[in-house]
């Protein structure tokens, strides 16, 4: 845009009028205007900083040009100047057209329509696999048709990996160990114990019991399935039980210590005792079934203690015992 000195026969392209000698004229690419006529065809205001947009021979200020003709982005709803991505029946800034699941820009990598959404290819495959009840390989992003190989928590086609020891291509049977993958024979050769319950290697604390190894949390009571977590367990017929359930199922429980009786059982007074816990309830002297003891509310009392009972009580107990027999 430039301004010129007067030109007597010149006329304004907009209003067709001439120019007086002291009047400024505007020349835009050889077209001459009055200063007041060089305005936006929509809002009749001068172009800010002389900047205008032309469409089919008509000039507009930036604002109105956008209002009338520029496309809006389907995501951010701002005008799009420059490259427009036309897709999914809408217009997009290239940076706004992204995968609906992972937000990767799709302008240059292409996209797949999936249930009304634009998705990148990996996301599309994963969605499809999910629908089929399958996994998508974390390396090649295609569906894993066979059994996947899990590595650091993610599923892969096994054939992307080789055994860290022998180099053989792996199958789904491969095992992860300290961040590396091994074929089953190579894994087993490393002497890592396998859990008797879940059949997976034990890399943390190992519990050895019943001729097997166990994850701490997998060595559980056969009845209540609670882990023993270092507490005592009881074995019977190849199963391990917590004390409570062993007692409930098989145990002779000691009246005194409430534990399962280890070894010989003393049976007396409709109860059972550990040998060392069969004692006088009054003085805690150890008794055996060979000792003479007295029954007192179905508790054993040694003769010495019974002698010390008040005469009144001994009389009543004797009378009561007689009436009981009747």
């Amino acid at each position: 845009v430039s301004m010129t000195s007067q030109l007597s026969q010149a006329s304004c392209i907009r209003c067709r009028g001439g120019f007086s000698s002291d009047e400024h004229m505007v020349n835009s690419n050889g077209e001459i205007y009055h200063e007041d006529c060089f305005v936006c065809a929509q809002c009749f205001q001068k172009f800010p900083e002389g900047l205008f947009y032309e469409f089919e021979g008509v000039k507009y200020c930036e604002h109105d040009f956008h209002m009338l003709f520029a496309p809006c982005c389907g995501k951010c709803e701002e005008f799009i100047i420059g490259r427009v991505i036309k897709a999914m029946n809408n217009n997009w800034h290239p940076e706004c057209f992204t995968c609906k699941l992972c937000n990767t820009p799709l302008a240059d990598v292409g996209f797949v329509k999936n249930a009304g959404r634009s998705l990148c290819r990996p996301c599309h495959n994963r969605e499809k696999a999910l629908g089929l009840g399958k996994y998508v390989c974390n390396k090649c992003h295609s569906i894993i048709e066979e059994e996947p190989l899990r590595f650091k928590g993610d599923p892969y086609h096994p054939f992307h990996f080789n055994c860290d020891n022998c180099g053989k291509e792996l199958t789904a049977e491969a095992r992860e160990l300290r961040g590396e993958l091994y074929c089953l024979p190579c894994h087993d050769k490393q002497g890592i114990p396998i859990c008797g319950a879940c059949r997976r290697p034990i890399e943390e604390r190992v519990v050895s019991a019943m001729g097997k190894h166990w994850h701490v949390e997998h060595f559980v009571c056969a009845q209540c399935e609670k882990p023993f977590l270092g507490q005592k367990h009881y074995e019977k017929n190849g199963h391990a039980y917590c004390e409570l359930h062993y007692n409930q199922l098989f145990g002779d429980v000691c009246y005194h210590c409430n534990g399962v009786i280890d070894g010989d059982v003393v049976s007396a007074l409709n109860k059972s005792w550990c040998v060392k816990h069969f004692q006088c309830t009054c003085c805690n002297t150890k008794l055996t079934l060979k000792n003479k003891f007295v029954e007192y509310d179905m508790k054993p009392v040694c003769r010495k203690c019974y002698e010390k009972f008040p005469l009144e009580l001994k009389k009543r107990l004797k009378k009561a015992a007689e009436s009981e027999k009747k």
Binding site: H256, N258, N270, K271, T281, C282, C283, N284, D297, M298, K299, C305, K308, F309, P310, E312, L313, R316, A320, S323, E324
Partner: protein
């Protein structure tokens, strides 16, 4: 006395966990200096002595698992007793207790409690008595209970309940909720009927004890007792009995009179030779 001192010294030096101080004529624990400093002791037997009180310092023996105070003259217990967090067995039988200290029921692990032959009644129990949910056995024979609290059903691990020779005029139906109960001793009371709920329990097997004689049972129950305990349980489970029991309770019969056969109980007599 030097003998007692030697026992304490030996225990201290050899870290003996079991101490037997039974039948040594001890009247006051001051006679056994240093005893309450034996923190490593787990089993302490002091039966057949003449202790009138247990000092609060008993709470220092934090590792005690068993404490036997059978046959003393104890009238007062310290509240610190129930702070023995490891105590599993407590024998206070044959003493002179007519009440228990406030908060007595706050034992953390108590499994066996023997309070036979004292002067306790339903009014002697502190409000938290039935918080002791770890209790397996509770012996209250030869006491003065006329009723028994329904809260007994809070003690779900209860295996043995002895209420022989009290003055019970009824048994709470909640006893029928103690599904682990193996022994029930209720002989020598003033019971006329049994709650039908007792029929929920299995008390007639080879490892069970059900003693109920010397009660003024109503005739139909007495007839079953003549035949045997299993007949009693069969009967109280019947609809006939449930009906009869309901009618009996509804009629509110006067309770049978107290027997005075416990009047001569040693723990009731005043102590003439009480020293200090």
């Amino acid at each position: 006395m030097s003998k007692l001192k030697k026992i304490v010294e030996d225990s201290k030096n050899q870290k003996m966990k079991v101490i037997d101080l039974s039948d040594r004529g001890i009247q006051n624990l001051n006679e056994v200096p240093g005893l309450m400093m034996l923190e490593h002791v787990t089993h302490l037997t002091m039966s057949h002595n003449k202790l009138a009180a247990v000092p609060p310092s008993i709470g220092e023996l934090v590792n005690l698992e068993m404490l036997n105070l059978f046959n003393n003259h104890i009238e007062e217990l310290p509240t610190s007793l129930s702070g023995l967090m490891k105590l599993k067995i407590l024998n206070l039988g044959m003493n002179r207790l007519s009440h228990l200290p406030r908060g007595f029921g706050s034992f953390a692990k108590l499994e066996m409690l023997d309070l036979s032959y004292n002067n306790l009644s339903e009014n002697s129990l502190p409000s938290n008595f039935f918080f002791m949910t770890t209790l397996r056995t509770l012996y209250l024979a030869d006491n003065d209970f006329e009723t028994f609290p329904a809260n007994i059903n809070k003690l779900q691990d209860m295996q043995v309940l002895s209420l022989r020779d009290n003055d019970l005029i009824s048994l709470p139906k909640e006893v029928g909720e103690l599904l682990k109960l193996k022994e029930l001793h209720i002989q020598g009371n003033r019971l006329t009927v049994l709650p039908p709920e007792l029929g929920n329990l299995e008390l007639t097997g080879p490892n069970n004890v059900f003693k109920a004689d010397r009660n003024p049972w109503v005739a139909p129950i007495l007839e079953q007792f003549m035949l045997g305990n299993s007949h009693v349980f069969g009967y109280i489970r019947s609809d006939t009995y449930k009906y009869l029991h309901g009618r009996h309770i509804h009629a509110e019969p006067a309770p049978p009179p107290k027997k005075d056969d416990k009047a001569k109980k040693a723990c009731r007599k005043p102590l003439h030779n009480k020293n200090k």
